[in-house]
C-alpha cells in the first residue's frame, strides 16, 4: 500500500497544508510576540477573510480579484477591532485577553451567520487552476494545491524581505525582542501595533481566501485552524517568522504523513479493527508529541525571537 509515489503525494499534501498554516500563524505569532497579546479571534479574522473573498469573487466573477479586494477590506475590519476592543487589553493579563478575544470569536461567528447564513458558501475553483498536473509518470496532483504551495513560498519570501530589510521590519524585530526599549526610543508603538495587527489579519484573510476553493467557507472554520496555529507558533518560537515557517511545514507534513500512514503501520503488527481504531487517534496526536519533544529540548521554541 505504501509506494514512493504515494509518499510523494502525501508529502506535497503536507507541504500545502503547512503553507496554509504558515499564512495563518504568521499574523498570530507577530501579534503575540510584538504586542504581547493573546488573540484567539485570529481564527475569526481568517473566517471573515474567507467570507469576504468568497463574496467579492461572486460579485466580480473573478477569484483573484475577489481575493485581492478582501485584503484591504479585512485590514479595515482588523483596524476597527484593534482600536475598539484590543487597545483596552494590552495592559491586562493574558487571561483577560483570552476571555475578551474568545468573546470576539462568539460575536463574530454569530455575526457572520446573521449576514451570510449558516449553510456556508461555495467558492468555485478558478478555471485555470482546476484539474490536475502530472508530476511524473502517471502521478497526478491537483493544480490548485500546487499553486497554494507556490503562493505560500512567495509570501514567505516577501515577509522575510520586509522583516529583514525594511524599516518596518526592523521595528517589528525590535518590538519582538524588547518592546519597552522600542517605546523608550520614541517609536509610536500604537501605530506599530495597529499596522502589525492589520498585516497579520491580511495574511490570515489571504489564507482564508485561498482555503475557499478547497474547504467550505462556513462559520467556525477558523476555530480548528487556531489550535494547530498555536502549536505552530509555540514550536517555532513566539514572534519569529522564520520559526513559524519551519514549524508550519513540520506540523503540516507530520500531521498529514501521520494520518496517512500510521493506521497502515499499526496494521502490520496489530489486528485490523484495533489498528483502525488507534491509528487515526495516534495520527492526530503526533503533532502534540512533536510539540512536547521540541519544548523539552528547546523550551523557547526552535527560533526564539530574541536571537533573531
Amino acid at each position: 500500500m505504501i509506494s514512493p509515489a504515494l509518499v510523494l503525494v502525501q508529502t506535497l499534501n503536507g507541504v500545502q497544508f503547512g503553507m496554509m498554516l504558515f499564512l495563518f500563524a504568521a499574523g498570530l505569532t507577530l501579534v503575540l510576540g510584538i504586542m504581547n497579546l493573546v488573540n484567539l479571534a485570529h481564527g475569526s479574522i481568517y473566517m471573515i477573510g474567507a467570507f469576504l473573498a468568497a463574496t467579492f469573487s461572486a460579485w466580480t466573477g473573478s477569484f483573484i480579484l475577489g481575493l485581492l479586494l478582501a485584503l484591504p477590506a479585512i485590514f479595515l475590519v482588523a483596524v476597527a477591532v484593534e482600536i475598539i476592543v484590543l487597545r483596552a487589553l494590552y495592559q491586562r493579563s493574558h487571561l483577560d485577553q483570552v476571555l475578551a478575544t474568545f468573546g470576539i470569536i462568539l460575536l463574530l461567528n454569530e455575526l457572520v451567520r446573521m449576514i451570510w447564513g449558516s449553510s456556508g458558501l461555495y467558492v468555485a475553483m478558478p478555471g485555470f487552476l482546476a484539474g490536475d498536473v502530472t508530476l511524473f509518470s502517471g502521478i497526478l496532483y491537483p493544480t490548485y494545491r500546487l499553486a497554494v504551495i507556490a503562493l505560500g513560498l512567495i509570501v514567505a519570501a516577501g515577509l522575510y524581505w520586509v522583516i529583514a530589510w525594511t524599516r518596518l521590519g526592523m521595528l517589528i524585530r525590535a518590538g519582538a525582542s524588547n518592546r519597552e526599549m522600542v517605546e523608550a526610543i520614541g517609536v509610536d508603538i500604537r501605530l506599530l501595533f495597529t499596522v502589525v495587527f492589520g498585516l497579520g489579519a491580511m495574511l490570515a484573510a489571504f489564507a482564508g481566501g485561498l482555503a475557499g476553493p478547497i474547504l467550505s467557507v462556513d462559520t467556525g472554520m477558523g476555530d480548528s485552524v487556531l489550535i494547530l496555529a498555536l502549536v505552530v507558533i509555540v514550536i517555532g518560537g513566539i514572534g519569529s517568522i522564520r520559526g513559524t515557517f519551519v514549524a508550519a511545514l513540520v506540523i503540516g507534513v507530520v500531521d498529514t504523513i501521520g494520518r496517512a500512514f500510521l493506521p497502515g503501520l499499526f496494521a502490520l503488527f496489530l489486528s485490523r479493527p484495533f489498528a483502525d481504531a488507534i491509528g487515526p487517534a495516534c495520527g492526530s496526536m503526533l503533532i502534540y508529541i512533536v510539540m512536547a519533544v521540541v519544548l523539552f529540548f528547546r523550551p523557547q521554541g526552535l527560533f526564539p525571537a530574541r536571537n533573531g
Binding site: M1, S3, A5, L6, V9, Q10, N13, Q16, F17, E110, R113, S118, S119, G120, L121, Y122, A124, M125, A130, G131, D132, L140, P142, Y144, R145, P213, I214, L215, S216, D218, T219, G220, M221, S224, T256, R259, A260, P263, D276, A277, G279, P280, A281, S284
Partner: protein
C-alpha cells in the same frame, strides 16, 4: 434591603403556590427540541419547517385540537438537551416531544421523556439502543434506525456490480456503525477503510490513498459540514469518473447548492426522495416549495410525516389525549398517508419501509435533485427489533 428580599421571596412563594393555569382539555402541547443555533442549525430548521407545514395544513389543529408548539434550542449540547427535556415534561407538562435530529441529543433526552410517560416522536435519530433493549412504548420513530440507510447503500453498491470498494467514515460511533451497516449488505472486496477525525476539514491525505488503491468505487460517510469539502476535494482529484462516489447524508438538498455540478452522478440510498412517485409526496413537495421557497430535504419530509402521524392518531381517538394507552395504540397503527408511501410500525416502534437507490440528477430547469433510482430493499425492518422486549 433585607425587607425587600424577604418581600420578594414571599411574592415568589405566592406565585409558586398558585395553581397551574387550568388548561382547556382540547389543547395539545408539543415541545419541539432542535438545534437552532450554530453551524448545525440548517437541518433542524428543515425538520421544523416540514413539521410546521403539516401543522399549518390542518389549520394549526393537529387531530382537531388547538396545538401549542414550543420551539426549544438545545444547540448541539446533550447537557442542555437533558435540561430542556426535564423542563418540558416536568414543568411545562407537554403531551408530545418531537424534533430531535441528532443521536447525541436523542440519547441525552430520551430517558427523561419516556420515563415520564410523555410521547416522544423521533423524527430523525435512531440510535440502536432505542430500537433494541431500551425501546419504549412511548417512543415512535418517523425516520429509521441508524444502520439502515448505510445497509441500503451497501445493497445498492452490491447490485451495481462493484467488485472492490474503499470505505471512509468520520471517526466516531456513528461512523463506525455506518461502515458496519454497509458491510452487512455488501459482499464484495473492501480494499481499504479509513477513519478521518470528526470535523476534519481537509481530506487530501485520505483521497490520495483512495486514488492509489485498486478500488472501483468509494463509500463515504463524513459527518457535518466537512462533507462538502470531501466531495469537492474528491472531484478535484479527478476521481468522480474513475471511482464513482457513493455516500450517505452528504449530498442532498441542503448541500447541493454548495456543491453544484460536482455532485452530479453521485449515488446514495434513502427511504424518501423528492421525486418519489406517490400523490401525497407530490403534494407535499409542491406545498413545501411554495411556502418556504427551497427544496424539502429528507429531514423536512420526516418532520412533515411526524405532524401527519400525530394528526391521524389524535383524530382516531377523537382528541382524548389524556388516555395515553389509546394514543399509543393509535400511533402504532400509523394510519396516515406517509410521503414515503408504505409505512407501518415494527414491534419496536420503528418503521418498516422501503429504501431506494438515489442518484443526483438535473431537472429541466437545471436544478440538481436527488433522483429515485428504484427500489433496493422492500419492507426493510431494522435488525434490533428482536432485542426489544415490546411485542
Amino acid at each position: 434591603m433585607r425587607t425587600r428580599i424577604v418581600m420578594l421571596a414571599a411574592v415568589a412563594a405566592l406565585v409558586a403556590a398558585l395553581p397551574a393555569p387550568s388548561r382547556a382539555a382540547d389543547t395539545l402541547k408539543i415541545g419541539f427540541i432542535g438545534t437552532f443555533s450554530g453551524p448545525s442549525a440548517v437541518l433542524p430548521q428543515n425538520l421544523y419547517d416540514g413539521f410546521m407545514l403539516g401543522v399549518d395544513q390542518v389549520g394549526g389543529k393537529l387531530g382537531g385540537l388547538k396545538t401549542e408548539i414550543s420551539k426549544n434550542d438545545v444547540q448541539f449540547k446533550p447537557d442542555i438537551a437533558h435540561q430542556v427535556a426535564e423542563r418540558l415534561v416536568k414543568s411545562d407538562h407537554v403531551d408530545i416531544v418531537t424534533g430531535i435530529l441528532f443521536s447525541n441529543i436523542m440519547m441525552a433526552a430520551y430517558d427523561t421523556i419516556v420515563d415520564s410517560h410523555t410521547i416522544l416522536i423521533g423524527s430523525n435519530a435512531g440510535p440502536s439502543p432505542i430500537a433494541g433493549k431500551d425501546c419504549s412504548p412511548y417512543f415512535f420513530s418517523t425516520s429509521w434506525q441508524n444502520d439502515q440507510p448505510h445497509a441500503a447503500v451497501g445493497k445498492f453498491v452490491q447490485e451495481q456490480g462493484v467488485k472492490r470498494v474503499f470505505l471512509v467514515a468520520s471517526n466516531y460511533r456513528a461512523g463506525q456503525d455506518a461502515l458496519a451497516g454497509f458491510k452487512s449488505q455488501y459482499k464484495g472486496e473492501i480494499v481499504g477503510e479509513l477513519y478521518p477525525a470528526l470535523g476534519q476539514q481537509d481530506y487530501s491525505a485520505e483521497i490520495a490513498q483512495i486514488a492509489a488503491s485498486k478500488a472501483d468505487a468509494t463509500y463515504a460517510f463524513i459527518a457535518g459540514s466537512p462533507a462538502v469539502n470531501f466531495v469537492r476535494q474528491y472531484a478535484d482529484a479527478g476521481l468522480m469518473k474513475r471511482k464513482p462516489l457513493y455516500s450517505a447524508f452528504m449530498i442532498y438538498e441542503v448541500t447541493l447548492p454548495q456543491l453544484g455540478d460536482v455532485a452530479l452522478g453521485t449515488r446514495s440510498a434513502a427511504s424518501w426522495t423528492p421525486d418519489l412517485d406517490n400523490p401525497q409526496n407530490r403534494a407535499f413537495v409542491a406545498a413545501f416549495r411554495q411556502k418556504y421557497h427551497y427544496m424539502p430535504s429528507l429531514y423536512a419530509a420526516q418532520g412533515y410525516d411526524s405532524a401527519r402521524l400525530i394528526d391521524a392518531a389524535i383524530h382516531q381517538i377523537h382528541g382524548k389525549i389524556a388516555d395515553k394507552q389509546a394514543l399509543i395504540a393509535a400511533l402504532d397503527k400509523a394510519d396516515f398517508q406517509s410521503v414515503r408511501g408504505a409505512f407501518r410500525y415494527n414491534s419496536n416502534h420503528f418503521p418498516i419501509q422501503n429504501f431506494y437507490g438515489t442518484e443526483i440528477e438535473k431537472d429541466k430547469s437545471g436544478m440538481l435533485y436527488v433522483h429515485d433510482k428504484g427500489l433496493i430493499l422492500r419492507d426493510y425492518a431494522d435488525s434490533y427489533a428482536h432485542l426489544c422486549p415490546m411485542k
